[in-house]
Amino acid sequence: MSAGSHSELKPLTPWLFSSKPMALTLLPLALVLSLPASAQAESTDDAAARQRWHTDLGTLYAALATSTDELKQAASDYCAAPDEDSRNHLDAQWLQAYQDWQAIRLVDFGPIEVDSRAWQMQFWPDRKNLVGTRMASRLLQPTDGQPQPITQSDIDNAGVAEQGFPALEYLLYDEAMDERQLSDPLPCSLLQSISGHLADTSAALATDWTDFGDHYLATDSYTTATLHGAMQLLDSLEDKRLGEPLGMMGSPANHYLAEAWRSDASVALIAGSLHGLQQGFAPGLRQILESHQQDELADAFETQLSDTIDQAESLQSGIATGLEDDQALAQLTTLYIEVAQLRELLNQQIAVALGVVRGFNSSDGD
């Protein structure tokens, strides 16, 4: 192969091999360097959209900080006085905080990238059931003496499978807990430790998002990054969170591939993500589309998003039970189609209209 015939480089556009002297090319280069490549085609209107996004997404981070703090309190209340009311409140608060996390999951840059925080919040996909095995191991009773309660410090230093919402879901819903009392000292200490870790991480995220504002607003490439985040969320919604467990991706339906299969809360979490798009993303998107005279696309996106939310909220069950009920399965399929249409709107039509190209290598991480 290296012994092939010698071949001269023949540029297709030789006029681009400028005959300009070097000095002439250096001056504009200095100006060009002040902007990242993706920013050069953007208008200043994008800065206004980023301002809107920073505010709206900040509201979602603040909501997550509040609801995880309430979850921590609910865990503490339950462990102090375990009864039906405190348990119901705990379950409801877990779901509320988990949905608030889904709402902000479209942000995959900035403070969430620090220390793998997204994984700390939610270890998923979990094809090897690491959550199950790690939590079962945490809950092992010592063969001699009393179990040592688990501290938040233990969880702060633990692996991501033990730190987030799925770990709490194990405590609240896994069938292994049928034989345990959640209110016993060991499980309750674990419940409070994980809740505390989630609350602290969420509070740090909210603060860091505010501090991140100057950098976010000053860096043009975050316009594209924010659009990419929403596009990535819709990819994941259609393919991973609905398509794979529903058997739409070439392998049989399998409810263990769904998020939150233990609690059957998968569709409620999808609704949380869709609400996040509506509150945190759509208003900023409208600003950009209007500045590109693409108001109709903004209207279409918001209408399709609203329809998709309605469909998600009309479902009474999640994927786990839905797979066993023809009527529910038909409804899940409709949701899948609604999400696919939403994805097509954003990831194709709107992306093309805005000239947004998704990098193969820029998102590679290798």
């Binding site: 010698h6 071949s7 540029p11 090319t25 990242p36 840059f109 620090v114 793998s116 692996g159 290798d366």
Partner: protein
Amino acid sequence: MHRLPCTDQQRRRLLKLGLGSLAAASMPLPLRAMASRYEGNTAQRRWFFSAVDNLDGQHFLAGLSRDASEHFLLPVPERCHGGCLRPGHTQAVLFARRPGTRLHVIDPRRRQPLHEIEAGDGHHFYGHGVFEPSGRRLYVTANRIDDAMGLIRVYDAEHGYRLEEDFELAGIGPHEVALMPDGETLAVALGGIKTHPDMGRIKLNLEDMDPALLLIDRRSGEVIERHRPSHHQLSCRHLDIGPEGEVIAGYQFQGPEWETDHPLIARRAADGKFTETDLPESLQTSLASYTASVAISHHAPSALITAPRAGRVVMINRHSGELMASPALDDAAGARCDGQGGYLVTSGTGRVSHLDMKGQLTTLNELPLRWDNHLT
């Protein structure tokens, strides 16, 4: 220059003394010529190779003619990353993308797959490897999953790519590996990031990473030099080696993305001196803490670093580190010197470009492919 008698041991001693180029100069000539032809002299090369995906997400090894007017695709079963050529043979090796467990040996002339080698139980590859000058031993970066020990796995290509031995690197996450001009020393970019296949690509040790640029004796596995970046979260990933034994390495910063002032390019000079390169602030900021490929010209005093998150390529003087040019190229990916002082550069958008000695980019072709990060 007249030849000096020089044993392996003497050569290692010279290397330690920072006289690598003298050691290289004193190599037996046939070996030296082969190393030179293989490592650097691409002037006669008609074909370059890269991992690619097509627009449907299917994975291939691509052969690309040097003027980008021709290409061919060979299907591979998974997304691949780096590759290398086997000296003296018409074989190309393509490595599965981390945490991949296979390497694919291909005959690009007949366009046929030859071997598929498994990383072995409890191991995965990181996506890069290099042959010794004779084309017999293949050195591949790998992870021993149990204890996250970074390894160079040594395969014997003359015996069906049989695993010969492992070199432990006393570190985590070796990524790109290349051979120094002496033909005896491996340069390894040690990323320092602990991952586990069960946990996907989650980074498990961001607090106590210990990345480095390593020089290793390829026969004994002894670590001859270990250069640590100026910050423990500067993951040393990719590198290339110049004709005099200088190494340029590209970092990826693993800390907060708003800390954009950490250096991303390092240089180990031929005399062993290790420095990091400062870029103008606006350019430095735009790189978004990330570099992809590194290529050094053997015919001009330059090195090229691709920066897909900036949508740029960065050309520096390989001796001084001074910025020469940084033209825009969306999703810039692989780069390789063209043997004439310029570079062939690929992009995830499918574009193949030529960068001339002055830093001017010209599009050679646009193909319906997503070129992966490395061009061989």
